[in-house]
Each structure stands twice: as C-alpha cells, then as structure tokens.
Amino acid sequence: MMKTEDLIALLATDTRPGRAVLPDVLLAAFGPILITGSVLLMVLGVRPDLIDTFTSPITIWKWLLPGLMVAAGLHLALALSRPESRPQKAWLVILMVAVLGAGLFTIRAVFLPPVDWIAAIRGQTIFVCLASISGIGLTGLFGGLAILRRGATTRPGLSGLALGLGSGGAAAALYALYCNEDDPMFFVTWYGAAILAVGLIGAISGRRLLKM
C-alpha cells in the first residue's frame, strides 16, 4: 500500500516541469499542413487567376470561412487544454462560420434556377477536394494531438473536435489556392464536409488520446 504521504514526497521529488502546449502545438499542427499542402500545390499547381479571386466578394469566402474556422478551432482547443476554462465565445464563432456558410449557400441557391442546383453542388472535382482537404487536415490534426496531450482537458472529445475543425480549415484554405470551383454551393458543401470529417475524426481520436 502506498501512503498518500509517500506519494506526495514522491511527486515533490520530481522537479522536471511539464512542457507547455504553446507554442509547440502550433508548429506540430501547422507544420505538417504547410508541408503536405505545399507538396500538393506543387503537384496540382496554383490557380493562375489567384490575385483576381481575392477581390471577388464571393470567392474571398473560400479563405474567410476556413480562416475563421482555424482561429476559432485552435483557440478552442487551446482554451480547453486548461481544465477550468469555459470557452463559450469560440463555440459562437464556430457556429457563426456554419451559419455564414449556410447563408452563402442559400443566397446562391436563390439566384440559381432549381434545375441547376445539382450540377452546381456536384462541380467537377469532388473527389480531389475531399481527399486533399481531409488528407492535409489529418496530418495537422494528429501532429497537433500529439502535443495537445500535454494539456489537461476535461472534455477530450470536444478538444479533438476543435483541433480537427481548425486543422481542416487550414487545409481548406491552402487547397483553395488550387481549386477554381468558385460556386458557393460547391465549396460550402464539400469544403464544409471535409472540414467536418477531420473534426469528427478529431473528436473520436481525442476521446482516446487526450484523456487525462
């Protein structure tokens, strides 16, 4: 039987401090995303009209929405790594991104005859889109999870979900440098699906890997 007093003496002997989650988690999550994303862009190529798309009020959302998701997801994952935190604002931002995406989708649908909806959603590149965003996103998710294990979350599933949404968002923003499918009905649907998939894998993995 180990007495609690002995345990305390034991713990006090261990003077090696724990390692902080920041800034390593940023490197571990964004590093793999940047590397795999760059490789993909070298293979597929950056869209030639990239500069013009930045000034279009519609296509700019291909970066704004994922960008907001990155900020909110990472913020949430970091906040949750402190056990006592109650990060409600970050959840609101994630909800806002979803609502904005749905709004963009709906506005586009209103201006398009219903017979064209299916074609608009389907686009030409569903498979490459889903595979690229989720593939790149997963590298960031698991890189980040390895470091996030140092944290002390009391909600491991939610922590993994947040990190997955953030990683998926970063992957989508990179992929958008190649992707020239600018119909919101396409990119909201499939970018969203891929980001959500990385988020769900994050939630499942987090429940196992982030448990204190």
């Binding site: 039987m1 180990m2 007495k3 609690t4 007093e5 002995d6 345990l7 305390i8 003496a9 034991l10 713990l11 006090a12 002997t13 261990d14 003077t15 090696r16 401090p17 724990g18 390692r19 902080a20 989650v21 790594s81 402190r82 056990p83 006592e84 140092r150 944290g151 002390a152 009391t154 448990k211 204190m212």
Partner: protein
C-alpha cells in the same frame, strides 16, 4: 528530501473558515514550486490532500475509503503531471476543482459496475473509515507491479526509502539529469496505468 510537511488533517476546517487564507497560500506555494522550490511544492500537495479528501468524500461518499483514497492519489498525480496548465495569474482552486471533478466522475464511471449498492440508502450504515488506514490506497501498489523494472525501482526507492533525487542517479547508474527524466517518465507511466484502470 527535506519537505516541509503541512499536515493539516482536519478536512472540515480547511474547506470552511480557512478557505480565503488558503486560496492565496496555494497560488503562492505553487508559484514558488514552479521556480524550483521543492519544500513549497511538498507543502502545497500536503495542503491539497485533505481538501481533496473532503471533496471526494462529499461527492463519492458511498464508495469505500480505500477507493476514495485512490481517487485522491489520482488527483494528486494528475495535478502534478499537469501543473504547467495552471496559469500563474489565475486562481488555483478552480483549476484543482476542475481536475478533481473530472477524476471523480471518471472513477465513478469506471467502477460503476462494481458499485451497484444504492449508496444513498446505505450511507448511514457503512462504517466511517473504521479499520482502514485513510492515507493508504490499494491501487498504486498494484500499478507499481505492472511497471517496467527500472521505473518501479525508481518510484519505490523514492517513495518508500526516501531516496533523494541527488542519490537516485548514482544508485541507478544514471546522470542526475537522466535520473530526473527517468523519474518523470516513471510517473507518467504510473499515471497512464491508472488511467486505463488496469
């Protein structure tokens, strides 16, 4: 090791009137601990233990004393391994309580199948810690047996024989830095074992 032991074992008093005083104390001690003040750290943990014991008894009073002490040890170990997640400008208590709550829920869930007694009804007739040493938990010893030899020997040497960190290296043929790392890793392994409930 010359630890300053703050052995206040009056659970009730600590949770009650001394609370305000302790709140500042804890942050003070833990800040000092983060700067390498080992006696302050031992004092912090020693002050923490009776409070944890009180919380666990209040929240999980139906389970037996040895199991409750397991939970207390589990919280202490987690507080130790995760102490870097406490931000020095924040109060200590909410941080400790969040970990404690999580560990109580976790333990109750894990032992849920074993504890089928309607504890509310039997609470009155369960003898209050009679015959058990409330400071000893049964789990840790069983967990130690499952560790690799070196981790186990290191933890035993420190916990039972009071081996100092400075002597740990020479005893196990390690540099002092390597001994620190080995001790830290051994605790991580112990924690992982407890977590999986093996």
């Amino acid at each position: 090791m010359t630890a300053v032991r703050v052995t206040n074992r009056c659970d009730g008093r600590i949770a009650g009137s001394n609370m305000t005083e302790n709140r500042d104390d804890w942050a003070h001690l833990l800040r000092a601990a983060n700067r390498g003040d080992t006696p302050a750290y031992a004092a912090f943990l020693a002050a923490l233990a009776p409070v944890l014991r009180g919380i666990v008894r209040a929240r999980a009073g139906g389970i037996d004393a040895a199991l409750r002490e397991d939970i207390v040890q589990e919280v202490l170990l987690t507080v130790h391994l995760k102490r870097h997640t406490w931000a020095e400008d924040r109060p200590v208590r909410p941080w400790v309580y969040a970990i404690t709550r999580y560990k109580i829920v976790d333990a109750l869930r894990r032992n849920g199948r074993d504890i089928t007694l309607p504890v509310e009804d039997f609470a009155d007739i369960i003898p209050a810690e009679a015959g058990t040493d409330p400071f000893a938990a049964r789990d840790t010893e069983r967990m130690l047996d499952q560790l690799d030899d070196r981790s186990r020997n290191i933890l035993r040497a420190v916990a039972y024989e009071g081996t100092k960190l400075a002597d740990l290296g020479s005893r196990f043929g390690l540099s002092q830095g390597a001994a620190r790392v080995a001790l830290h890793r051994a605790m991580g392994k112990l924690s992982a074992l407890r977590r999986t409930g093996q």
